[in-house]
Subunit: 245 residues, 2 copies
């Protein structure tokens, strides 16, 4: 993308943004949107692997991914990381700062990424006069909690096979929601990141991708994924409910 194109894109208001139906503005009226727009800090574009915030940093805003992708993670003292979530365009991150006004985990970019900042104190004030905004924030926070719960079920009770299938289905669903193909897409994260998210070893990810491919369920080439048999993939996940809401 050229500098000119980038600059143009970055000026886009929430109302004109193609992601608004997925993002914080969802469900707000025109007037509400105009008010909200005033306060949004329009971004911020960074390379891959740059850290947006880390534990101890002051929490002053929620963030919304515009292009690219972000991972949030915690680390053990020994260095191993647990990825808490991947955040695709239109998704919010940064909620880990709500408890104490300090962030508790790391957020870093998976690739070239641009994102908006939604200052917390401004949102808080707007909540007084905009019930719709309040409800939308509750919805987003609730979604985050439920996503974490699904992730807990995955890490605690699913086999490596089931984990990888769940992961592919989750990514597929999210691409679909953004208007992209649900069956053919490019993974924005490395094998290492997938492994850290699923709580398994990188080698296991490789082996399982191969096994899925050998059984004709998917076609994998590096980061390019083609789901050949969606139903088979879904059958591998024998767990309970999940929904994007």
């Amino acid at each position: 993308m050229s500098q000119a194109q980038l600059a143009k894109q970055l000026k886009v208001s929430c109302e004109a943004c193609s992601l608004s139906e997925l993002c914080l503005p969802r469900g707000l009226t025109h007037d509400e949107l105009v008010k909200l727009d005033e306060y949004i800090e329009r971004p911020r574009s960074t390379d891959a692997n740059s850290i947006i915030y880390q534990p101890g940093d002051k929490f002053h805003a929620f963030y919304a991914v515009r292009t690219g992708g972000v991972k949030t993670y915690l680390t053990k003292k020994t260095g191993e990381q647990q990825i808490l979530g991947f955040h695709l365009p239109g998704e919010i991150f940064g909620l880990d700062g709500m408890e104490s006004s300090k962030h508790r985990c790391y957020a870093s970019t998976l690739e070239n990424t641009s994102y908006c900042a939604l200052p917390y104190d401004k949102l808080d004030n707007l909540c007084e006069v905009m019930p719709d905004l309040r409800h939308q924030i509750c919805h987003l926070v609730g979604h985050e909690l439920n996503a974490d719960h699904t992730h807990l079920l995955l890490l605690g009770q699913q086999t490596a096979h089931e984990r990888l299938a769940s992961f592919l289905l989750s990514i597929s669903k999210r691409f679909k929601r953004r208007g992209f193909s649900a069956t053919s897409f490019i993974l924005p994260m490395s094998r290492h990141d997938i492994a850290c998210y699923l709580g398994i070893a990188v080698e296991t990810v490789s082996r399982l991708f191969k096994s899925l491919q050998d059984s004709g369920v998917v076609q994998i080439n590096r980061k390019q994924v083609d789901i050949l048999d969606m139903e088979a993939l879904q059958n591998m996940v024998a767990n309970c409910e999940e929904d994007e809401g």
Copy 2:
């Protein structure tokens, strides 16, 4: 507890409740508390193993444990459950309903339990005029998110030994915060529940308790736990930050 005692306790207002410093009312002024108190549905006392809500139930309130204990959990179709959290007196649960106004997980009691209900629509209205309440709710939600994140790190990256040590330390810390001993307490949940929370087998829980006991770190007798060497326990958890805030 006799019926008379129970009835008396149940009438206690938030302001008079010994748990208010841990619970939703934390940080509110007298006037705010009086207003809040009007809306709180005072409880609700149940036996062990009774289900408070389950997936699909309409979400209409947050709940605060007064006495006893509650677990929230998800299940796989095959029946295995993943416990998402244990909730002790003064702690809030029910946030899983925020996304869609339907609950997404199960909540059931560990023992004889009483709890208050905090109707969501009333809280929402109060948020308009009580910034302190808004902030306290954000704090609680943020705490829940961070607790889930710590749990994800535990399930994804810690060994069975580390998990059990983390669990004991977490329970110890929470008892201490409630004014009880940090080193001698009675676990409110079964071995099975501990196993489901930690993502390991019941037999493993038993073996690890024995191993901790053999190495002189703790003394375990059924549900009675005595921590003999707190420092050793803490050294077993080689992971990153965690704080009760």
